[in-house]
Symmetry: C2
Subunit: 407 residues, 2 copies
């Protein structure tokens, strides 16, 4: 299998390190807007680097991406950029006749008049509307194939197939106990993206009602995370799972709650109240007179780069799927989860835990596509495909998942 | 009396409106870095404007200020700029043989190794060290003569002279219930200055111990403010009164607590934890490539200009001095205070409440100096002079003070 990887940031770099250990990969073209980043990712692979080449590409330039896919005879495009670039990359793959994987879906737009009650353009709508074109082309766009969305969706399908007869609710729950030495506050992921997803109206699915939105940070609950992480306050956040799971799995309710914790929520609210989450430029004094800058860029610039914090980070991150329903007539409740200890991911891969946990899942999916264990056409979520092979291969990668029966 | 007013911002503009109604003023030269601001302040005075002229001056240019004082034969310089310009203006007045008034004192610098225990350079130290030069010149520098410091210091002296035999503690307490329509969050005063004073180590005076510092926002207490404002959480903040009052008034303890409220304190802490209070530049994308900007400037640019909010503001602001001690052998506790209702100050003067309350006090002081009710030489705080004439004249200005006996 020949893969075009677009984006050699934290997640893209971890993808190369994980894929380099697997035989299914014939060649990976590692690309980035910053060629030096792509080259650094390849160089770090040492003797395994022969199967990798680095190249510069602008992810927003659909035609340039299509050309590389064709010239390099790539079977699949793996998108490891931020969600602003989903649509040009998705289109480029279709035009080149390649399969496509990403870890976040096309962006939403809030409802014009009732943003906290009704959906406007939903996450992924732009992609899912093109399902027929992908089916006709006989190609697969496997969307939302990171850890969340991604592994969380695989867990949902696994629960429906093997653990439950009837599902009342599926709730994705994400929490961590990561701390970073020497910083009062150092998010383990992009603050720019966190602001985007946390301040958008969260979306909830109910079978009787369809999809609807609520206010940011709504319905707080304390969820007890496994493997020593413990209780963390979780709130509704806009996330792909609430859109994907109901399309392939039968459940009366689907939610996503993020264990931001009180402190982080308060900080995000403050940024919003002060207008510092805005991307609209404000005018401030610069060296040579007034300059226009985006407040959200300034917030990001004041914080350390999350991908570079692995060495100073301690703790674990947990992604998982809580399911409530019945089996053989009896009530049942489980939490299917995947925990990564930063100490382990740094030692094994030199990658920070959150970044590594995101990166491993699309590599597992690529391997299943390469071996034919997974096949498909159209635009599919991870829950459209058989979960067992995925979960078994993830364990084979040295990163087992867990099940907590809490019924 | 001929006065040079330096600074025609919110407070300076309110000074012109208050002084225009009083006969003691022969002439006021209104100056600002931005000539248009000075001209606008004068033009707004209508038929009273004949006693006022506008002129441009750079407050940091000591020699230029001295020249204007001499050329315009000014008896006194009233400083209505921010504290960065205290020292050049203070020196210019001394060199020109003029008296000097300000509303904030020379800036502090924290102790190098124990910032939250010991004082470094204290607020006002630079000015007070020059007391002898002012005495020798037979001129008066009346420092900290706004509302806080200013009226609050007059209250302290009044309490010592007329209400107490022995004072255990003097605590300045400042609180408000101002809200601004159409904004989640809109401070009624400069956020730049608020960050400076609130994030510096607060200073406390104790007779046995002298001056010492504590951590920002230390010793929270709920203080019940009069005239319907009600209870507000107050915390220690670095302020001039704790430095001035013990020099002229006998008290075992002097504190300053600001009714920031939980919400405002949390916001300031968040700005600090995110590094957004910093004045050191960070690099962000600009229109034509990377630019360096100060995060604190960006925070200020995201918020509305406090001086322009009067029309959308509702509520009252209270400045005052709480005193605990004994009188005639019995314990006594009073709160001496001054409340301004924004609705009243907007109607009467077109000035927002916080700005007007600051501006009225130096005008009262100028009138007392003009009539000879107040005289002095050297560098003095408001508590060095007899309080009665000041309090009576403030009432005559239509803005009475109050006393709450809470013993």
């Amino acid at each position: 299998m020949r893969v075009l990887l677009v984006g050699a940031g934290g997640v893209g770099t971890a993808v190369t390190r994980i894929a380099a250990r697997r035989d299914f990969l014939t060649h990976m073209v590692v690309t980035d807007y910053d060629l030096a980043r792509a080259q650094a990712a390849v160089a770090a692979l040492g003797e395994e680097s022969s199967r990798f080449t680095a190249q510069r590409v602008d992810a927003s330039d659909q035609e340039a991406v299509r050309r590389i896919l064709t010239e390099q005879c790539c079977d699949v495009l793996l998108n490891a950029t931020d969600p602003r670039f989903v649509m040009p990359l998705f289109q480029a793959a279709l035009e080149a006749g390649a399969h496509y994987l990403d870890m976040a879906m096309s962006l939403s737009a809030p409802h014009a008049t009732r943003p906290y009650e009704e959906c406007g353009v939903k996450l992924g709508d732009e992609q899912l509307q093109q399902a027929q074109r992908w089916e006709e082309a006989g190609r697969l766009a496997l969307v939302g194939m990171g850890v969340e969305p991604g592994l969380s969706d695989v867990f949902a399908r696994y629960a429906a197939d093997e653990l439950f007869d009837d599902i009342e609710e599926i709730g994705i729950r994400d929490g961590a106990n990561l701390t970073v030495e020497g910083y009062d506050f150092a998010p383990s992921f992009s603050i720019w993206t966190t602001i985007e997803e946390c301040l958008n109206p969260p979306v909830v699915y109910e079978k009787d009602r369809g999809w609807y939105t609520t206010a940011p940070f709504s319905e707080p609950e304390v969820f007890d995370f496994p493997e020593g992480i413990g209780p963390v306050e979780c709130v509704n956040v806009e996330h792909e799972e609430a859109l994907l799971i109901p399309r392939w799995v039968d459940a009366r309710r689907v939610t996503f709650k993020y264990g931001l914790g009180n402190d982080f929520i308060a900080k995000l609210k403050t940024l919003h109240e002060l207008g510092l989450d805005s991307t609209a430029k404000v005018t401030v004094p610069g060296q040579d007179g007034p300059v226009g800058v985006s407040p959200r860029d300034v917030v990001a610039a004041c914080l350390p780069d999350p991908a570079g914090l692995g060495d100073r980070m301690t703790g674990k991150t947990c992604a998982g799927t809580w399911v409530k329903g019945t089996k053989d007539g009896a009530p049942r409740e489980v939490y299917l989860y995947h925990v990564v200890d930063n100490e382990w991911s740094m030692r094994e891969y030199g990658s920070q835990a959150v970044v590594w946990q995101t990166a491993v899942n699309p590599v597992v999916a690529l391997e299943l596509l390469a071996t034919g264990a997974w096949t498909g056409e159209g635009v599919l979520g991870p829950e459209a495909l058989p979960p067992r092979p995925f979960l078994d291969l993830l364990t084979e990668y040295g990163s087992p998942w867990g099940l907590r029966d809490q019924g």
